[in-house]
Symmetry: C2
DNA sequence: CGATCGAAGATCCTATAGGGAAAACGTCCG
DNA sequence: CGGACGTTTTCCCTATAGGATCTTCGATCG
């Protein structure tokens, strides 16, 4: 029995290790700030240290682990108050633009075909040389439907409580935001949003909190704004959602 | 004689290799799309393949090299038209916000102390646990002076022509934009701007172009807007600059 | 009692060797 | 003459061993 899942070796070992370690850090299987022993990790995953080292290097670029020269790797420490504020500001910048762009594209496609100055950019981007698999770009019609479906998804997954409920909520929230970013048609924007998300997830897992109804309501408001084809309204709705969400997390910083 | 410069081994070998390979790709010492042989690279740098592999993994996360499973690494291909448009849009999102934020901080500090709703965020972020060395946060007074100095720097460096002139122009332009992003007080924003910059540099080097006077004038206009403490004006000036710069690069896509 | 210095332990970092998969080439067939 | 197949070659990927470095613990001195 192997420590990590090898589908069919369609990927390289280092990639699997990367996913495994990522999951380990994301689920706090290793505490924030804790040292990560390369050899021990390799033994645990039943691979040699080399691919582990490679995976760790990639994770460092993602900001999930830190490396001190000649002292080894450590799991990313918890966000400080200042870093949390930066994260919120960054999300405001990125995701407001994301919502804005989706509304723009939706309205443009609905009315006729690209009528804005730099039209074609987004469309060609979405249809560009994708990653090969699973990239099915549906018509603009069901973009809205898909977003609404993610926003409306059962807030309280039946049969889940406590930790599991938190995880389910987090996963749903992530799906919505990622989908929105993806539908902006800008792959770089999408990637940036996903990268930021990891840090927020880390933080939220440490201070378990979930506001099912409230969050879902705010999500729907964003979708509605997109549906009306008003980019500014969509951006404002997203901004309000992010600020509200930040406020909901704020109490956990009182101690510091 | 070693293939790469080892300062005093204050860093790890893999870090040096990372910088070397990064420079190789950035200067087009390896052509875009060209395959990168790990063993050959290791011999050229006179190190073992292991640190090379580690450096390549980090570079892949930065988007400077691509990895096909079981097929090796290749240098990042040149930007397609769609990707170029995405890059421009991304810069608009990030750097407009950057200019906006700098103007905000400047006016806030000059008038009195933070008067906006979420004040303190930026300041505390800038004063957070920095990377230790070289992070000297000067008073708000010389922030403007420093920006102006970078913008005013001799456009045409004496004694440089052709390729060298392009490189000098690019370096100056990069310094200005990076400095601005850094002074936004948001380290994540700064990092994102720097990451994007690498791709633009790659593109520009392949289609050598430089508009010394024009670019410098636009930079100064941004600095002036910041000086007046008007965030929206600063954002607009940055937006105009980026769009104009994009238009200057556009002719190179006629062939595609 | 606290701080500094020294030595042992653990760990990281680098180098080398071998197995296996994919791509490229030449050859054969239609 | 073009396409498909088999073989060869190249290259990536993984595993193991040894040297250098940092951290930690204990003892000693102020």
């Amino acid at each position: 029995m192997n420590g990590l899942l090898r589908p069919a070796r369609r990927t390289t070992l280092a990639d699997d290790v990367y996913e495994s370690v990522r999951a380990l850090v994301m689920d706090h299987a290793v505490a924030p700030g804790e040292r990560i022993n390369i050899d021990a990790l390799a033994r645990r995953l039943e691979v040699s240290p080399t691919p582990v080292r490679e995976a760790l290097a990639r994770l460092e670029a993602d900001g999930l682990v830190r490396k001190r020269p000649l002292a080894g790797y450590t799991a990313a420490p918890l966000l400080t108050r200042a870093e949390f504020d930066e994260l919120v500001e960054m999300r405001l910048i990125l995701e407001t633009a994301s919502a804005h762009r989706v509304a723009e594209r939706f309205s443009g496609r609905r009315d006729a075909t690209g009528s804005d100055s730099d039209s074609g950019s987004g469309d060609r981007a979405a249809a560009g040389n994708g990653d090969g698999a699973g990239a099915d770009p549906p018509g603009s019609a069901d973009v809205l439907a898909q977003l609404r479906r993610e926003a409306e998804l059962p807030d309280q997954v039946p049969g889940t409580e406590g930790f599991a409920a938190i995880a389910a909520f987090t996963a749903q929230d992530a799906r919505f935001h990622h989908l929105l970013a993806e539908r902006s048609g800008n792959r770089m924007l999408h990637a940036a949003v996903v990268r930021l998300r990891a840090h927020l997830h880390l933080f939220r897992l440490h201070f378990p909190t979930a506001h099912y109804g409230t969050s879902a309501r705010e999500h729907l408001r964003i979708v509605d704004a997109i549906g009306t084809g008003d980019p500014d309204a969509a951006g404002s709705a997203m901004r309000a959602h992010l600020l509200a969400a930040a406020d909901r997390h704020l109490p956990f910083f009182e101690g510091s």
